[in-house]
């Protein structure tokens, strides 16, 4: 392995850039969990849907210049799909008394994963596609970066900021935070928690769809492109703490850094292993994740 200060700085920057993009995906998973108390195993498939919408919008309708509008359409599209699917698939878990809710959620979301992936193969074929991007290469210090990656990075930060404002400063955000703390109390206050569930699910999958749209010019569009990103998302929520929004951001940055530095300066074939080593380390030191809270049982 070659080592130089410039290479180190380049690798750190590269890790931080990809880390923010990982965080966007993790945020969707952790947000849905904090409200609906459900792990959505099909999160990667919403990433995939977002990337396909981006490709179709840019390649066939809008053109490369309007990539940002296509990204908004992709996020809105996945939001709508989430809003439609949640009452059908997730709501029955709460609407009817049910033992083994977690098992139900796991089976339903894994079935959804398989359905969406098969639909993608049936509709778009197994080939790879890439939405055009006319953004020039940008130099960040000594690191050259695809314009699309820088745009994705900035948009991801912007999305995280908007998400924070919505959660902290709006009535819906207040209701969502209350539901995350105590569903029963919110329900007795006259708030429709089922509607909140649908909104939370839709916002979560829209974040995944936005990730897919932003990363489509970089990591391409194909039926299983969300699989690896989902794994990263779950690694991040273990590192940062399930249900913690700052944890998702810090976890994403840490994962991106560890993977990049490990691949560049330790051994490249084990790039994916370094993330798991970090997960194990965090689980040993802080079993609830860096920002996770210890669960309270009645």
């Amino acid at each position: 392995m070659i080592f130089s200060t410039e290479l180190l700085v380049q690798t750190v920057l590269s890790g931080l850039m990809v880390g923010v993009l990982y965080a966007l995906m993790a945020l969707g998973i952790t947000f849905i969990y904090s409200i609906v108390k459900t792990i959505n195993w099909a999160m990667g498939e919403f990433y995939m849907i977002g990337s396909y919408i981006q490709f179709v919008a840019v390649h066939y309708v809008l053109g490369a210049r309007w990539w940002w509008l296509a990204a908004i359409i992709s996020a809105a599209g996945t939001f709508l799909i989430g809003l439609i699917l949640e009452p059908i698939l997730i709501k029955p878990m709460y609407a009817r008394p049910m033992q083994r809710r977690d098992d139900y959620a796991t089976v339903v979301t894994i079935a959804l994963l398989l359905l969406l992936r098969s639909l993608a193969v049936a509709l778009g074929g197994p080939n790879q596609y890439r939405p055009e991007s006319d953004l020039p290469v940008v130099w960040i210090g000594p690191l050259p970066q695809e314009g699309a990656r820088v745009a994705a990075f900035v948009c991801a930060l912007l999305a995280l900021g908007i998400f924070w404002v919505v959660i902290k400063k709006t009535w819906v955000g207040l209701a969502l935070r209350a539901a995350a703390q105590n569903r029963l109390a919110v329900q007795t206050s006259g708030v429709d928690v089922y509607r909140l569930d649908a909104i939370a699910f839709a916002i979560g999958v829209a974040l995944a769809g936005l990730s897919g749209a932003l990363l489509a010019p970089l990591f391409m569009v194909f039926p299983t492109n969300g699989a690896v990103t989902t794994v990263k998302g779950f690694e991040i929520i273990v590192i940062g703490g399930l249900g913690s929004i700052p944890g998702a951001l810090i976890g994403g940055l840490l994962l991106g850094l560890v993977e990049s530095l490990g691949a560049a300066f330790v051994s490249s074939p084990y790039q994916n292993v370094y993330g798991f080593l970090l997960v194990i380390l965090v689980l040993i030191i802080r079993p609830n994740g860096l920002f996770g809270e210890r669960g309270r049982e009645a």
Binding site: M1, I2, S4, L7, Q10, T11, S14, G15, V18, V121, G125, P126, N127, Q128, Y129, R130, E132, V137, P144, Q145, E146, R149, L218, F219, M220, F222, P223, T224, V228, T229, E259, S260, L261, A263, A264, S268, P269, Y270, Q271, N272
Partner: protein
């Protein structure tokens, strides 16, 4: 009374079956060829589709000519998705349930090698359509055949191209699969054995990695004259994209380890960044075809409105070779077919006849196509118009 009637009919049916009606029907049943090829990700789906197209046209051709031993041939297609376990399950099903007598279509070496481990017990011969790792045939299993270039000539092709251009610093970036590891090792071995004096940097990566920027920054720091891209499918395209980002391309030369850029979607994926890419090819539309190859090319063009590429040609040839082997052996019994394949000489798409001798090492039961390096000098070129940058052996 009614019950007695049903029992009587059942008894009559049993007698008819015993007396030979069932075997007579079996005589009319088609001979099954199995195709195990990647048709969904993470497999190399484009090549899988091409191999399938070729195999289907091959079976159509055989049936138009009267079939084999008076029976039609049917093709049963199974998706390996590039996963070893899925390929093995498909082989077991083909042989046990569908009674396939020959299995081909393999694109991923790992799948082919894993299937061969089962095939050596179950006995039905396999043929690697586009699998390059030595171990596909080097284990010298009776059932293992292949119509593709193995590691040694392939590495020799890009090393010859590098020597021709007098380059000295070479980066090999390869995935950690049987295919990638085999080719990376073979490149280093030939550099040493042939005393080529090249300075080689080898970087391996996991093929599920979505971001190869850290690896390519290392490559950039090495300042290579040429880069050998040994990714398959999505990683291959990711390396091209990110090599441009880091500024490695277009400064250095890049050669891909197989003919992925011959796929129709190459220019959609890469646009201007595809210009200057070199790739190993086993067939160029400028290559001379056998009469059978010309017939196939005509049919392929008519059906798909594009000229055939190598994976399709090989898928076609595999079906034809197995059909001819059955005719020669006058049997679908695996041992007789294997003997016919070993001793026969068959016509495929190339003017060079296909033979499968019991040779040493990976050349066991192996027919190797001609090897060349093609180069895209301008955007939207096809393999037919690409420059021939190097031909192995010339």
């Amino acid at each position: 009374m009614q019950r007695r009637g049903v029992l009587g009919a059942a008894s009559l049916l049993a007698v008819l079956v015993t007396l030979g009606f069932a075997p007579a029907r079996a005589q009319q049943e088609p001979i099954v060829f199995g195709l195990i090829t990647p048709l969904s990700p993470p497999g190399e789906t484009a090549l899988g589709q091409l191999a399938k197209r070729g195999a289907e046209l091959g079976v159509d051709y055989i049936n138009e000519k009267g079939g084999v031993l008076g029976r039609k041939v049917a093709l049963s297609v199974h998706d390996s998705a590039g996963k070893n376990e899925q390929g093995v399950a498909a082989y077991r099903r083909l042989v046990s349930s569908e009674k396939a007598v020959a299995v081909f279509g393999f694109i991923h070496s790992g799948v082919n090698i894993a299937v061969n481990e089962v095939a050596k017990e179950m006995g039905v011969p396999t043929m690697g359509t586009q699998t390059g790792a030595s171990d596909v045939t080097a284990k010298k299993y009776d059932i293992a055949f292949r119509t593709h270039a193995v590691d040694a000539p392939r590495a020799a092709a890009w090393l010859g191209w590098i020597q021709k251009n007098k380059w000295k610093r070479i980066s090999v970036i390869a995935e950690t699969t049987d295919y990638g590891i085999g080719l990376a090792k073979e490149t280093e071995k030939q550099n040493k054995d042939k005393n080529l004096g090249l300075e080689i940097q080898t970087i391996m990566f996991d093929r599920t990695t979505t971001d190869l920027l850290p690896q390519l920054l290392q490559v950039k720091a090495f300042k290579p004259d040429a880069i050998v891209n040994i990714g398959v499918g999505q990683p291959l395209d990711l390396i091209i994209t990110q090599a441009h980002t880091t500024g490695l391309l277009p400064g250095a030369q890049m050669v891909t380890s197989y003919d992925a850029p011959a796929r129709p979607q190459f220019w959609q994926l890469h646009g201007d960044k595809g210009v200057g890419i070199n790739f190993i090819a086993f067939y160029s539309p400028k290559s001379e075809l056998s009469d059978l190859g010309k017939e196939f090319a005509k049919r392929y063009q008519a059906k798909f409105n594009e000229p055939p590429v190598y994976a399709a040609l090989n898928g076609f040839a595999n079906a034809i070779v197995f059909a001819e082997a059955i005719k020669t052996a006058n049997s679908t019994e695996p041992k007789a077919m294997i003997k016919a394949l070993e001793e026969g000489s068959f016509t495929g798409w190339s003017t060079s006849p296909l033979t499968f001798p019991r040779a040493e090492g990976p050349l066991w039961h192996n027919w190797s196509p001609p090897l060349m390096v093609l180069r895209y000098a301008t955007k939207d070129q096809t393999p037919a118009t690409a420059e021939v940058a190097y031909v192995l052996g010339q």
